[in-house]
Assembly symmetry: C2
Homo-oligomer: 190 residues x 2
DNA sequence: CGTTGACTTCACCGATCAGTATAGCTAGCG
DNA sequence: CGCTAGCTATACTGATCGGTGAAGTCAACG
């Protein structure tokens, strides 16, 4: 089941979700109107509202879909990697950074949304899952004691590197984070 | 000169900048119209345009002012702190996080703006200065070798903690980042 | 055959967007 | 006195915002 589930969506709904992904990420959420999304999808605004009900719900659906796709890609890469799995997680982010030039879509969304917007829960859930995954991968390689703290440490490094994908051009920070994480894990194993 | 410079601005211009600071931070840049800013400042839209020329220029001015204020506050705290200066920098961010609930205004702005917006340069300059400050403070306490790498490491921890101010409630991540930075510096000194 | 669901077409709603035009007020200053 | 700077007041532009109403097309399915 590596295919992305359509989640019971109609074909038109899927195209709208795909168009949302492109536009929201490239221009920002508030900067993109529903009219533009419908046009990009080759659909009508009416269909968009029939499927999603509101822009807020569409934003949440866009983030959920993005999370699912990213998670599947990450899992595949991590599971098939030799050596320390947690470094493969950094590699997954590095690979994604090569083709996406506006930073982390989840951090971007969190920065734009306010006041209990539906999308905020999706972002918080996503980041929590990433953090738990980091801790899980660390625990698999390091003696139990100190693993939790090391996991938090590595997660913060990862997030620090990710947060700057949208500010500095290049992936230097993310690469530095990976280097340092590698050293920390090696020290902990020894 | 701890007073914030008005930068040659008229009294009305200053009030507009103050209002911009409140509204842009609380609701986001794209979500706030110039009309609302003028009203919050008790000024007219005409005055706003006479002083700043465009919303884009106003956003850049807001970010510049915010940087100046933050930098002065941070410097005061760091300079007057006992013990490792770099930890005082974390404390400055922790203190700011207590009263500001929408994350880092610079990361938020970077997440919203695109395509060479004037504000993006201000954000990039700000983060570069923070990074250089971290490295400077580290070099003052640690033997030269490895100081640069340790500086980058601590900066990433700081940014990781900051990036989550707008996602998780509370300052747990930032506090964890401080704890880990403290250990790293202690290890390097030893 | 009839129904249902996915989708189109298009006109429309009130509100708001960034930005401009024109005119006038008031206080400080030479 | 007259000029200028800072600001107010109000009306306006054309565009776009999120969202709705009503009618109709088309294919799949029972």
């Amino acid at each position: 089941m590596t295919e992305t589930s359509t989640g019971g969506l109609t074909p038109g709904g899927v195209r709208i979700l795909e168009a949302s992904g492109r536009l929201f990420y490239a221009r920002g959420i508030h900067a993109v109107g529903v009219e533009a999304i419908a046009a990009e999808a080759g659909m009508t605004k009416r269909t968009l509202y029939d499927r999603f009900g509101s822009k807020e719900a569409l934003v949440a659906a866009y983030l959920r879909r993005h999370h699912e796709q990213w998670w599947a890609r990450m899992r595949e890469r991590v599971d098939s990697a030799p050596g320390p799995k947690v470094l493969a997680l950094f590699d997954a982010y590095l690979a994604a950074a090569e083709e996406s030039h506006y930073g982390c879509p989840f951090l971007n969304a969190a920065a734009e949304l306010r006041n209990g917007h539906l999308g905020l829960r999706v972002v918080a859930d996503h980041k929590r899952q990433v953090r738990e995954e980091v801790c899980r991968l660390i625990e698999a390689e390091v003696s139990a004691q100190g693993a939790a703290q090391l996991g938090e440490h590595v997660f913060l490094l990862l997030e620090g590197g990710i947060a700057h994908r949208g500010i500095d051009t290049g992936v230097d920070h993310l690469r530095a984070a990976r280097t340092l994480a590698e050293r920390l894990v090696a020290d902990a194993v020894r």
